[in-house]
Symmetry: C2
């Protein structure tokens, strides 16, 4: 397997690196520099026609795309420690958490990113700045839900560090980068963030 990866602050490839570090795995890797537009080259589009990072090329040439799909693929061959659940119910809990994070929190942060951040001014025409600013409040509403969920829990599923934590970490840090830091009184989220950030995998 060969990984196509991109550096911080990109949240999507980071999830795969964090996952691999939790598994103690390392893969041969090619860096696709998004700032240099390397994801838009014909060479990379031959790997991933959508021009997105990350991607995982298998030894037979087939390519797996989408961060969580890549990790779940690897999970089939490296089940320990379990990152996608230990039984059907826990698997469903983790998938539901990931969906809440990505369909609601990620959506709001992405809207802030696209419509307020200067990096996107050349790409997103027009930027709807007032709309983008309004989505900071939406992101904080979802972050507060996770703050409440984390009361009395070390990790999101209440049992162990899973893919849901990997996903949330990627977006909490990305949110801060795009200008949506959670307030100090989100104490459970802050404590969780400190625990997740202290794991060696967070620096991968």
């Amino acid at each position: 397997m060969h990984l196509y990866d991109s550096p911080m602050p990109a949240p999507n490839p980071r999830r795969v690196r964090t996952y691999l570090a939790e598994k103690g795995l390392s893969l041969p890797t090619t860096i696709i520099d998004l700032a240099k537009g390397e994801h838009r080259t014909a060479e990379y589009r031959a790997i991933n026609p959508l021009g997105r990072s990350p991607a995982l090329r298998l030894d037979d040439g087939r390519v797996v795309v989408e961060s969580v799909a890549i990790c779940r693929y690897i999970e089939h061959f490296h089940p320990d420690p379990p990152m996608f659940g230990v039984d059907p119910f826990n698997t469903a809990e983790i998938e539901a958490l990931i969906r809440r994070i990505e369909l609601r929190l990620q959506r709001a942060i992405t809207m802030v990113w696209l419509h307020t951040h200067e990096w996107n001014a050349p790409h997103v025409k027009p930027q709807f700045k007032a709309f983008g600013e309004s989505q900071k409040g939406e992101a904080l509403i979802v972050m507060r839900e996770f703050d409440e969920l984390l009361a009395g829990r070390e990790w999101l599923d209440g049992q162990r560090y899973t893919m849901a934590d990997v996903v949330l970490l990627s977006y909490i840090d990305w949110a801060a980068f795009v200008g949506v830091a959670y307030p100090a009184d989100f104490r459970n989220l802050r404590a969780w963030h400190a625990r997740a950030s202290a794991r060696p995998s967070a620096a991968a």
Copy 2:
């Protein structure tokens, strides 16, 4: 198992009905009428604190939420016909397709829905109408990608009707409801839509 379901045009509960129909399963069901606000009652929040439909209550009282997580849970116990993949690569393909549909197409349609549809005027304040209108074009960009993907394919994964088709059908029909019908020259998508709509499960 007991299903909490809501009628059309809601796309999320529809996915579970379509999935169950493909499996030939039926579950005892309670209808949660979203138009009447039944998802916001204390009674329903005791089942699903997030107040969203669908939800699946297990016989031991635990609750599974989120449409795709509910279906993947059921898949563990009813694997035939396979709707989430037949091997690790196919499973990853289907998850990647679902992510493309939900993180990109669903996002654009949801923005049109929230920011242009009169039903949301009382709930979304303010509605950013110009932004919402702009997202119709975003939705069509993603629909065109799926039109291209479907060239020469009967179903999205190129092999069989899967959860990815269930998810896309739910959003294509919901998009038409909110005012984003795909143009007639999306021939592959149109043919796929006719095939998917002709399955008995589409009427579930």
